[in-house]
């Protein structure tokens, strides 16, 4: 009855490769579903696309409309020619009207009338072909440009370093790839071409009008055109502000909704419903008011232009009447000004307004397209802070001998997080970093993975300075598991396979068994194919961490860094994981950051990180003997373990 159209409403339907999965067909009218499916069956498989990706930035000219379009300048000229032709064809009609009235209807000549008809129809046929060809040609060109731009921007995003992503709001970055590219696409596909088209058509129209009558044309240009221009300009500037407000307010409505939805569990548990309902109503109300304001402006503009249209016709008729009395009182069809010309004039004057209003609109489009160009250029010109050298070499068969020499690092200049740190981790050893929150443990780990470059000093793996090696060979052999397990859209299997797309199901299950998440997966009705709904919100937080670990194990790293990666996992699972690590990483290197001393304690080397550096380092026994920070920690832990928990 009520079209609960094909709804994949409850989560499902999200299988497949990350992102490029099934369609969000929820709610497509059922009668349309077949045709949409048929269309999809036609879609070629683009699965074999392989794009060269390099971390090195290709040097080229800075991005601008000109450099972007330069390779296609002949095609652009071709489109312009097509556009000019279309415009000419459009204006044949009004001219033929004048001919029909003056040379056929008034003198009563059927032959001329028939000829006008034939020519007109002929021009229409040509117009169908020409504008069809134009739409195809320009449209395909535009789509090709967009495809290239998407790849170019995305590839550059991939090259940029981590600091860029923490610094920029994700939402803002998204718009680079979506609305900015779209604004540019509009500019290219309609804007630029239309701009030229409208200017051309304005010139043609004025030319024809002048050929009809100079005085009348002057009247049109001096009286009606300025009124229209002022009106349109007023409308553009006021409505632009109005729509800007509308856009901002709808963004607020949606972001309030978005945050309410993601935080709904908190809304419920903190009894915030009433507050939020009123708050949302206020935001929606503000949005409505902004809409009402633009409605006012549009209604006024819309009706006034109609009024100006009629008023212009009136003025033309009145002035035309006086001109006729003046120059052609006998209404001779061959006279210098005729009734036919007057009527054609009135039909053309309506056309005359079109380019005027369109041009002011195009100006806006041009501006937003240009703004998009500037933003995209800003992005494309941002150099990755971690650069791959042009003569970088691969680290082959990483053994995991890590050496840090006199390293200093600061996120913000003047606030060093690490100061003159030196450390050697021999291949095959495990090391744990302990120390208070904010001491710089994660930072050190990120430097070893070369997510950042040190301000001073260097990091070497197997004797290679990280600045000299290719990022791909480094990250291919060194895995980092952060505390927040990020799960991608897609199934559990997609997520696990992320680190090594060619892994077989057997290998995937093996990795799951290693971290002890296999029984959970066995319990799921869809097993490995279970979708990771909303970044895994229906899994317990420990389970999500275990998945992230399995993903890292599957990539078979030679150096593994666990940054509080098991903080929400129970001790038994954790010990199982470490056990696996021992064997898995035999002869290789592990760096473990943990607050749980029991975890930290098992490493071959323990480094206490505090006060911008390594405060103590040594094996567990050595540090306990040394009797300072670590020994205190251990003592606290020991008393808890033995004496506490007695009521």
């Amino acid at each position: 009855m009520m079209g609960h159209g094909g709804g994949h409403w409850h989560g499902g339907g999200m299988k497949g490769r990350a992102g490029a999965g099934d369609l969000p067909f929820a709610g497509i009218p059922p009668e349309m579903l077949d045709r949409t499916n048929a269309l999809m069956a036609d879609e070629p498989d683009f699965g074999d696309i392989q794009i060269e990706f390099s971390h090195r930035v290709v040097d080229g000219e800075p991005f601008s409309l000109w450099t972007f379009l330069a390779p296609y300048k002949f095609r652009m000229l071709g489109s312009l020619a097509l556009v000019a032709l279309t415009e000419v064809l459009l204006l044949i009609g009004p001219y033929l009207i004048k001919v029909a009235i003056d040379d056929a209807i008034i003198p009563g000549d059927f032959d001329v009338l028939a000829m006008v008809g034939v020519i007109w129809v002929g021009s229409l046929l040509v117009a169908v072909v020409v504008s069809g060809f134009r739409i195809r040609y320009v449209g395909r060109l535009g789509q090709m440009l967009m495809y290239e731009l998407r790849l170019r921007v995305f590839a550059h995003l991939q090259r940029l370093s981590l600091d860029f992503f923490t610094g920029e709001k994700a939402g803002r970055l998204m718009t680079r790839m979506t609305s900015d590219i779209e604004a540019l696409s509009n500019l290219l596909q309609t804007g630029l071409i239309n701009l030229v088209a409208q200017i051309l058509s304005l010139i043609f129209i004025i030319g024809i009008l002048l050929s009809f009558n100079v005085q009348l044309t002057m009247i049109l240009l001096v009286i009606a055109a300025p009124v229209m221009l002022v009106l349109t300009h007023w409308f553009r500037s006021v409505s632009e502000k109005g729509y800007e407000t509308v856009r901002n307010r709808i963004a607020e409505v949606l972001s309030d909704l978005q945050e309410s939805l993601s935080g709904m569990r908190l809304v419920i548990s903190f009894n915030r419903m009433k507050h939020n309902v009123i708050n949302h109503r206020n935001i929606v109300g503000d949005y409505r008011e902004a809409n009402n304001y633009t409605a006012w402006i549009s209604a006024f503009y819309n009706q006034s232009t109609q009024f100006v249209d009629v008023a212009t016709t009136l003025i033309i008729l009145i002035v035309g009447y006086f001109i006729l009395i003046d120059v052609n009182p006998t209404l001779d069809p061959d006279g210098s000004f005729t009734v036919g010309a007057l009527i054609a004039f009135t039909t053309l004057s309506a056309r005359f307004f079109k380019p005027i209003t369109a041009l002011t609109g195009l100006y806006n489009e041009f501006q937003s397209g240009n703004a998009a160009v500037i933003k995209l250029r800003g992005l494309l010109e941002t150099a990755p802070s971690v650069m791959e050298k042009s003569d970088a070499h691969d680290i082959e068969d990483m053994q995991g001998d890590i050496e840090i020499r006199n390293l200093s690092f600061a996120y913000d200049v003047g606030e060093p997080v690490l100061d003159n740190v030196s450390l050697h981790i021999p291949a095959g050893q495990s090391i744990s970093f302990v120390g208070p929150t904010g001491a710089g443990k994660s930072t050190l780990a990120k430097l070893i993975a070369r997510f950042y470059d040190p301000s001073l000093g260097e990091v070497l793996i197997d004797g290679h300075n990280l600045r000299d090696v290719t990022l791909h060979s480094l990250h291919n052999q060194l895995g980092v598991v952060p505390q927040e397990p990020f799960l991608f859209h897609g199934s559990i299997k997609d997520n696990l396979r992320f680190s090594r797309p060619e892994a077989s199901d057997e290998e995937i299950m093996e990795a799951c068994r290693t971290v002890g998440i296999d029984d959970m997966i066995d319990r799921l009705p869809e097993g490995l194919d279970t979708p990771c709904h909303e970044r895994g919100s229906s899994l317990s937080s420990g389970e999500r961490q275990l998945l992230a670990l399995a993903r890292a194990f599957l990539s078979r790293p030679r150096v593994l860094i666990l940054d509080e990666a098991t903080s929400n996992v129970d001790q038994q699972s954790e010990s199982k994981i470490e056990h696996a690590l021992d064997t898995l990483l035999e002869g290789r290197t592990a760096i473990i950051i943990a607050h749980r001393l029991a975890t930290a304690m098992r490493a071959d080397i323990i480094a206490v990180i505090n006060n911008r550096g390594i405060m103590e380092i040594g094996s567990h026994d050595e540090l306990v003997k040394q009797g300072s920070y670590y020994a205190d920690m251990y003592e606290t832990w020991r008393t808890q373990n033995e004496g506490s928990a007695t009521v």
Binding site: G3, G19, A20, L23, P29, R35, E43, I49, F53, H55, I105, G108, V116, A127, V128, S131, I135, R140, Q143, F154, R159, F165, L257, Q258, M264, R265, V267, F270, V277, N279, G285, D286, Y287, N291, N292, W296, F300, Q303, L314, L317, Y321, T347, D394, D397, T437, A449, H472, F488, F498, E510, S538, L539, G542, E543, R556, D570, H579, L584, T636, T646
Partner: protein, 660 residues
């Protein structure tokens, strides 16, 4: 290190004096609530279900329609009058008989002015109604969403709800607002056709001849474009999802050197998008010029055939000019009809999707005669509780008690259901069987608001809103004073690091709070719960990213803030467990053992197992590994791991970087 606990003054954190304050509101209402909601009767037609929301606007709506009809009538008269004026023109020029001409022109000015005023008013009024409708629908949906339970939010995808609350509302709004236009266009068609027929029936037919062709062509075009525009949207969404994930998950992409693969993935999605868009371009290249030029063909017919009629003396030149202007009006209803039919389809589907949300019933609901919980002592009891999110039972007859004022730790393996217990205690889900009670009152008899007010929860992954730190802490008490906020933050050991951020308490926490470290976010989560100083407090692995010393300070502050608080701790770390008076071991969905840590260590092997290494002292002999690997012998385990190691790729196996 941190602010000393003596600065924490417990008396500052006041409790609600009466239950009315359990639901805090500190925002001024600026707009009235929506005056209607949808019809609850699911069997009704979609339009009837939405009707009440439209009906409350009946007066402005009718006035707008009246105005539109009037202004349409004036509009229809314009071409006829221009035609008359043109017919009066030759006489005026040749004979100086200009009064008829100017009479017509005078009427024209008057009509145009009237149309300007009335048309403006009607159009504006119509938009207002439409905006009102949109806003009301948004609020109705939001107001319903906040009543729904956790189970609903487990099922849905946020993105989908947002798109429903956006494009679906738009689709309905568009349809409802376009339908009156259909009315006026039919009316103007009738008037124009009547006028034209009075002049010449055959010419009218000639003028209309292209209309059905245009209609059929545009229907065909729409039919072809429909799946294309769906697919375009879907492909655009694919691109957006890939970009979004690569931005948010960039660290993972980099960690596993997947940049190249992700680029290929995007290239594929972008190619698919390009393909479907090129298809649309091709189709519109075929149809649009046809449709446009066939419309003009009607005009050609009018001029040629009409010209012939004029020469023949059957009609006048002015009438011909008027005809020319009416051609557009003749086509209006047909163009509209096609559009409207399609809009109706869309609106119907959209309404269906919106109803799907609005028809959701909250799983957890207050009973009719609820008891309001006030000043609970905090005696908690789970009695034979059974529960599962789906078919699978997570809790299978869980029974335990927590005495008022006691601190109890719940220990269990990952996924054993610890967090689930906490969610059930606040009645976020309805239990399958058994009973949960507070001070011997079944929580299902309590007003949920009062239950939520007294049970504070801190979750392991605290969700922070992208507002200031201050507003985040004050989430449950938006009218809290700065003093209260500082007390709560200090107790959570968060005050010091907050003061170190750029704007202190006014620092806006970024999206999902990722500008803060895990430990910092957890402390804000604790401060948020402490601000309400709840007599029953649950810390669900809430200190997992906080170091031991700070954790201890937090618990000391907790004690100072309230004596006799009932506290449930969920933890894996012994440092946390040691803060509890008693430990409950959760296994297989049941409380299998309870006692002090020491007792359990001594007598419950399973407890030692779950806490794994913690029962092993440095220097003591390593416990048998087999004991830890619950169901697998050690030898087997090692063999399996060894198999993985053997399958490690040889150095020249890995796909080379760019440098080769």
């Amino acid at each position: 290190m941190s602010t000393t606990i003596s600065e924490v003054a417990p008396e500052i954190l006041e409790h609600a004096a009466d239950p009315g304050e359990y639901e805090p509101v500190s925002v001024e209402r600026r707009y009235e609530d929506p005056r209607a909601t949808i019809d609850r009767d699911r069997s009704k037609h979609w339009f009837k279900r939405l009707f009440p929301i439209l009906w409350v606007n009946k007066w402005p709506f009718s006035i707008a329609i009246g105005g539109m009809v009037l202004s349409m009538l004036f509009g229809v008269a314009v071409p006829a009058l221009i035609g008359k004026a043109i017919d009066a023109l030759p006489a005026a020029v040749t004979d100086g008989e200009s009064s008829t001409l100017f009479t017509f022109l005078g009427i024209l000015v008057t009509l145009a002015t009237l149309r300007l005023v009335i048309g403006f008013f009607a159009m504006y009024q119509m938009s207002r109604v439409s905006n009102q409708l949109e806003g009301d629908l948004r609020s109705v949906i939001y107001n319903h969403l906040v009543t729904l339970s956790f189970s609903f939010y487990d099922r849905i995808q946020t993105g989908q709800v947002i798109s429903r609350a956006n494009s679906d509302i738009r689709a309905i709004q568009m349809f409802l607002m376009m339908s009156p236009m259909m009315l006026t266009s039919v009316l103007s068609f009738t008037f124009a056709a009547a006028y034209m027929a009075s002049v010449s029936v055959t010419l009218t037919l000639a003028a209309m001849i292209s209309t059905p062709i245009v209609y059929l062509l545009s229907m065909k075009l729409r039919k072809l474009m429909f799946p294309l525009s769906w697919l375009t949207q879907a492909r655009q969404a694919d691109v957006a999802v890939i970009v979004d994930e690569n931005i948010n998950g960039q660290r993972i992409v980099k960690s596993f050197a997947q940049e190249g693969n992700q680029l290929n993935l995007l290239a594929r999605a972008a190619k698919q998008l390009q393909w479907v868009q090129v298809r649309s371009v091709d189709i519109s290249a075929l149809y649009n010029p046809l449709i446009e030029n066939i419309t003009v063909l009607g005009q050609v017919l009018v001029w040629i055939y009409g010209g012939w009629l004029v020469i023949d003396g059957q009609i006048q030149l002015g009438a011909l000019v008027a005809f020319n202007m009416y051609i557009m009006m003749l086509q209006m209803p047909f163009r509209f009809l096609g559009m409207l039919l399609q809009m109706e389809q869309r609106a119907r589907a959209s309404a269906g999707r919106i109803f799907e949300i609005l028809d959701e019933e909250p799983e957890v609901r207050d009973r009719d005669d609820t008891i309001t919980l006030t000043h609970p002592k905090g005696h908690l009891k789970f009695d034979n509780v059974r529960f599962g999110y789906k078919d699978e039972q997570i809790l299978r007859g869980l029974t335990f008690e927590v005495n008022a004022g006691e601190t109890v730790a719940i220990v269990g393996r990952t996924g054993s259901g610890k967090s689930t217990i906490v969610r059930l205690l606040s009645r976020f889900y309805e239990i399958g069987d058994g009973a949960i009670s507070i001070d011997d009152v079944d929580i299902r008899d309590l007003a949920t608001k009062s239950l939520h007010y007294h049970v504070g929860q801190v979750l392991d992954e605290p969700f922070l809103f992208s507002v200031s730190i201050r507003d985040n802490i004050a989430y449950g008490k938006p009218d809290a004073t700065m003093e209260e906020i500082i007390v709560a933050a200090t107790a959570a050991q968060a005050h010091d690091f907050i003061m170190q951020t750029e704007d202190g308490y006014d620092t806006v926490v970024g999206e999902r709070g990722y500008t803060l470290s895990g430990g910092q976010r957890q402390r804000l989560g604790i401060a948020r719960a402490l601000l309400l100083n709840p007599p029953i407090l649950v810390l669900d692995d809430a200190t997992s990213a906080i170091d031991v010393t700070v954790e201890k300070a937090i618990h000391e502050a907790l004690l100072r803030l309230m004596e006799n608080r009932t506290t449930i701790l969920i933890a894996h770390r012994l440092s946390t467990i040691s803060l509890a008076d008693r430990v409950i071991l959760l296994d297989e969905g049941m409380a299998v053992a309870t006692g002090t840590h020491r007792e359990l260590m001594a007598s419950v092997p399973r407890y030692r197992e779950v806490l794994a290494q913690q029962n092993r002292q440095i220097g003591e002999p390593e416990p048998d590994d087999a004991e830890q690997m619950d169901d697998e012998s050690d030898g087997e385990y090692r063999r399996r791991i060894a198999a993985i190691v053997r399958s490690t790729p040889k150095p020249d196996d890995f796909p080379g970087g760019g440098a080769r």
